[in-house]
């Protein structure tokens, strides 16, 4: 039995300062017993011979100087088991669904060690989410970490749910297991997620960690670590492909800032602690595929940008760690388009390794580039039209302007239950591109135009009208 200390000197926000202890390990788990017998848990933040600083996960309400502090002698561990699937746990890992406690097969340290870069396999397996703007233009691959950059009042939750429902790897039978971690979201949002998981039966292959808005902020700091530990366990011990959904990273960072302030640390940009980059990296980098292991961890986090500002430290630092981002647009949302993904600032850095012949289709990159270029041009023209009017545009420009509308209306817009295959997405892309003069499709190699362009499809190869070659060897070769 470990010793109980009644030597709390100060309580400040979520922190307690304990003196006259025997040596206590850094990051150790701490149990604090209150007058009424209830127990709160905490973690050692700073330890020295004179003073130990402990952050209490459930908040310090009800604590006084007489509360008993026990140091457990071990760091925070998550009891892991395959039986976690189908369970709903609190933000600190306790059952919330009224079910029994998890009987652990093992206990894993929640900090998680860094994957040796030499052991990693570069992610390259295409994940079909059934959403055209993602599959077609910002392709997700197994082992990637791709956040949704959203804002308040936008339907990021629906998109996350749709992805969780529909995500699959082509040709593979196995479905994704989902680890869902809610950090500081409202009860209503949580209900919405839970209802959807139950409705679609997704809960059976999901582990849910809930830290709601009224749960203590400190607990938020361990919630994603618990979730990722559970994910790693399922992926690397049980060969599962795990999709981790973390929502909302912004709440996590707020908690980080709150803790930093409570510890009287020197603040960095906008008051966030200077180590936020490393802290975020220690979570995000826990996605990946390891050589010789079957399972994988793919991360899909939701991040609401304060004031839709993409240069805010949270999205900015995230963008430097994650492999791209899906940006949700308020403008599209206002137009009533779901999912309102703005493809122009969105990006998947691992897209090129996940697409092409043998993975999706040979014309994928060309179609994606062309759609991107044409839509960008169409959007630019919208700005011009606002000044000079439609009449001033050339015939060609008018086609691009119409294309932008068409693109938003047909390609971007889709139903919440609509699960488009990659073939459908690419064919839809071709259909929209065929509204442009063929000579304007400069990003696409001739041979693909002959094979896939609706105007040529079904015809024998030789019948296609001769065109000048636009294929630029360099264009393909520079794929990064």
């Amino acid at each position: 039995m470990t010793k109980e200390y009644k030597t709390i000197r100060d309580v400040s926000g979520p922190l307690i300062f304990v003196e006259k202890t025997e040596p206590v390990g850094y990051a150790e788990l701490v149990n604090v017993t209150l007058d009424d017998g209830s127990v709160k848990r905490g973690q050692v933040l700073d330890t020295s011979k004179d003073m130990v600083v402990v952050q209490i996960f459930e908040g310090t309400g009800g604590l006084n100087r007489g509360s008993g502090v026990r140091f457990t002698g071990e760091t925070i561990k998550l009891p892991v088991s395959q039986d976690m699937l189908g369970r709903i746990l609190s933000g600190s890992g306790e059952p919330l669904d009224g079910g029994p406690r998890i009987v652990p097969e093992d206990r894993w340290d929640i900090t998680g060690a860094a994957i040796n870069p030499y052991s990693r396999n570069p992610p390259a397996e295409f994940i079909q989410t059934g959403i055209s703007t993602i599959d077609g233009m910002n392709t997700l691959v197994r082992g990637q970490k791709l956040p949704i950059f959203s804002g308040s009042g936008l339907p990021h939750n629906e998109i996350a749910l749709q992805i969780a429902r529909q995500a699959k790897v082509l040709g593979a039978e196995e479905e994704f297991s989902v680890v869902f971690a809610a950090m500081g979201i409202t009860n209503e949002e949580a209900q919405h997620f839970m209802h959807d998981f139950e409705r679609t039966g997704a809960l059976e292959r999901a582990v849910v960690f809930m830290n709601l808005a009224d749960d203590p902020a400190v607990e938020r700091l361990i919630t994603p670590r618990l979730a990722l530990t559970a994910a790693e366990y399922l992926a690397y011990e049980h060969d599962m492909h795990v999709l981790v959904i973390l929502t909302d990273i912004t709440n996590y960072c707020e908690a980080l800032r709150q803790m930093g302030a409570a510890r009287e640390e020197v603040p960095g940009r906008r008051g966030y602690p200077g180590y936020m980059y490393t802290d975020l990296a220690s979570n995000y980098e826990r996605a990946g595929v390891i050589k010789g292991r079957k399972g994988s961890v793919t991360q899909f986090s939701i991040l609401s940008m304060p004031g839709d500002d993409i240069t805010h430290p949270i999205p900015d630092l995230s963008g430097y760690i994650t492999e791209g981002q899906i940006v949700i647009s308020r403008e599209l949302h206002m137009k009533g388009i779901y999912p309102p993904v703005n493809v122009l600032p969105s990006l998947s850095r691992l897209m090129n390794s996940g697409i092409g012949p043998g993975r999706t289709r040979e014309d994928h990159k060309a179609v994606s580039d062309q759609l991107y270029a044409a839509y960008a041009e169409g959007k630019d023209l919208r700005g011009l039209v606002a000044i000079v009017g439609k009449e001033a545009l050339s015939e060609r420009d008018r086609k691009f302007l119409e294309f932008a509308d068409l693109f938003e209306d047909r390609f971007v817009r889709q139903g919440m239950e609509e699960d488009r295959s990659i073939e459908e997405t690419l064919d839809l892309g071709w259909e929209l591109l065929s509204s442009l003069p063929e000579a304007q499709l400069t990003r696409i190699d001739n041979k693909f135009i002959e094979k896939y362009h609706p105007a040529h499809r079904g015809k024998a190869r030789g019948e296609a009208p001769p065109r000048e070659s636009t294929g630029d060897a360099e264009a393909e070769a520079t794929a990064e």
Partner: protein, 578 residues
């Protein structure tokens, strides 16, 4: 000399110890697990240590051992082909020792201590040697001869020296004062290795890439910065530089990069072929990989580890190019450690000594006469990743104040399929003038003028483009239309280069000169024709102009240029009705 003290306080990666009297930057072993740390401050009897590994469950009262040595790397044969973490632990060895995840408290030496090397001595008994002298050589890889050096601070008379096969720990000889000589020695990473004298960087690093050699040359021993926005082809560019530049040794530091991207580099680099020898490029490469979630202190150390290895090969007389990707992540590591130490923050929370540290690092680049009398160089190419693409942030600004060359990688150019996507308007090189003499001797006395003309033309084009945007190119006077066209030729026929084309991938400096000269000569002829009254439309439709676009893909450039220019002469003569 090991002194044992104990831990007083643990706060994340910062540990305070009492009972040792370590020197600044000495390496200490912290706690029961012997975690590696470095002394970064001394406050009366307390010693402040930054620990390179996770400190969870480390307790006050656990032992701290002062090794009495600063953070050092092992220098000797076996460095090439290695893949290290930030503190020179070979990643493949770490996988063997502790599996796929990096656990703590595991040490692994930088060199393979079991491998035997065939050593050929070059000095004799009785000869007087001093620090940095070459004792002999070992064939490290097929094409790189590893010259075994006397450790820089050692000197004396050779008492014994043996040929034979040795491990790096074996004694290969002895000085008369009893000092043992080995194939390897240690060197502290934060201390620049001494040289006889620093030389002026008057020789360009030939990369075979026209935009670099032609417009924005970098010196052997020079410094360059590249911003790396996504999709700008940074990876391809780095690989081109590694493959083709005339540096013999390549050191690549992945500092705080993404794990998945680092995995890509680690997978792809070993597959690259050295075009000059046909052997794997790895045989003259050292990779250092420290991802963003590996301990922050090791990330801070990684650039020093890299540059020390680079200096070591320079000391053998080699030209070394070092790429650090990215220095912004390194600066962030400094910021983080500084904030843990509760130092007063400077701009954007970076420590006030950021500029000094950056300058110190880049100062270790340079061409030098090594202690052994040979000339070698370390060229540093540092990537910066300004947050939000904002170049006014402190890391970019402080870097630009130091480096002499700026290669502005531009995502917009890449989207327009202009590769290499280096923006010719915002890039600069301060070496242009310095190389004049070299160009005159090795390329052509005309080169400097040609280069200036080309730059000027591109500048004029940019100004004209502003007008074209408003009124369209048809509204310009004919001579300006012609200027635009010649500028386009410079951009598309000269600046663009296909990294994947057999011939175009590497363009020797002489050929660059010939190509640029041909394009500009064509331009002069066109201007002459225009002045004699030929309409601009006729000039622009000449066939020789389009043929000129293809010469860069010709294996026999001279013949191709000869044909084109003869044709051009005929065509222009035809236009003037001769």
């Amino acid at each position: 000399m090991e002194v044992k003290g104990e831990i007083y306080r643990v706060s994340g990666p910062v540990v305070t110890a009492i009972g040792i009297n370590a020197r600044m930057y000495d390496v200490v072993k912290v706690g029961d697990d012997g975690l590696m740390g470095e002394v970064i401050g001394i406050e009366s009897e307390k010693t402040i240590i930054q620990v390179y590994e996770d400190t969870s469950s480390v307790k006050p009262g656990e032992p701290v051992i002062d090794t009495g040595m600063p953070l050092s790397v092992e220098l000797g044969p076996g460095l090439l082909e290695s893949i290290y973490d930030g503190i020179q632990r070979p990643l493949p060895v770490l996988v063997e020792k502790m599996g796929d995840f990096i656990q703590r408290g595991v040490s692994a030496s930088g060199l393979d201590h079991d491998k035997k090397w065939a050593f050929k001595p070059l000095v004799n008994k009785g000869e007087k040697v001093s620090g940095g002298d070459i004792l002999g050589s070992v064939q490290e890889t097929e094409n790189i001869e590893h010259r075994i050096l006397v450790p820089p601070l050692v000197s004396g008379v050779i008492d014994e020296i043996d040929a034979g096969t040795f491990t790096v720990d074996d004694v290969i000889g002895q000085l008369s004062d009893g000092t043992e000589l080995k194939l390897m020695h240690y060197w502290p990473v934060r201390l620049p290795r001494p040289v006889t004298e620093k030389l002026r960087p008057t020789i360009p690093l030939i990369t075979g890439q026209r935009i670099f050699d032609g417009l924005f040359p970098l010196a052997k021993g020079g410094t360059a910065a590249i911003p790396g926005p996504f999709g700008s082809g940074k990876t391809v560019m780095q690989q081109q530089l590694a493959k083709w530049s005339d540096a013999e040794i390549v050191v690549y530091i992945g500092c705080g990069e993404r794990g998945n991207e680092m995995a890509d580099v680690l997978n792809e680099f070993p597959l690259l072929e050295d075009p000059k020898t046909g052997r794997p490029l790895m045989e003259r490469t050292v990779l250092i990989a420290n991802t963003s979630n590996m301990p922050v202190a090791a990330r801070e150390a990684s650039v020093y580890t890299g540059i020390t290895i680079a200096e070591y090969y320079r000391d053998m007389g080699y030209d070394v190019s070092l790429m650090a990707d990215s220095t912004s992540r390194w600066a962030e590591a400094m910021r983080e450690i500084s904030s843990r130490l509760e130092e007063m923050p400077g701009e954007e929370g970076y420590p006030a000594y950021l500029a000094a540290k950056l300058a110190e690092f880049y100062e270790r680049a340079g061409r030098a006469r090594a202690l052994c009398g040979r000339d070698g160089s370390v060229t540093v190419i540092g990537a910066v990743s300004p947050p939000g693409g904002d170049f006014s942030e402190p890391v970019t600004q402080n870097t630009l104040r130091i480096v002499k060359v700026f290669w502005a990688l531009d995502a917009k150019l890449a989207q327009r399929r202009h590769f290499p996507a280096i923006n010719w308007l915002t890039s600069y090189s301060l070496y242009g003038r310095v190389f004049d003499e070299w160009y005159e001797k090795n390329i052509s006395p005309e080169w400097t003028k040609l280069r200036g003309d080309a730059m000027n033309l591109l500048q004029v084009e940019a100004e004209l483009q502003d007008i074209v945007q408003l009124v369209g190119s048809d509204a310009l006077p004919e001579d300006q239309q012609l200027t635009l066209e010649v500028a386009r030729m410079v951009r598309e026929y000269f600046l663009q280069q296909n990294a994947y084309h057999e011939v175009d991938s590497y363009c020797p400096m002489k050929n660059q000169y010939k190509m640029l000269k041909a394009i500009l000569t064509w331009g002069e002829k066109a201007v002459a024709a225009l002045e004699s009254g030929v309409p601009v439309a006729d000039i622009l439709s000449l066939e020789s102009k389009d043929t000129l676009a293809k010469v860069r893909f010709e294996a026999d450039l001279d013949a191709a240029l000869d044909t084109v220019m003869k044709k051009a002469d005929l065509e222009f003569a035809g236009l003037r009705g001769e």
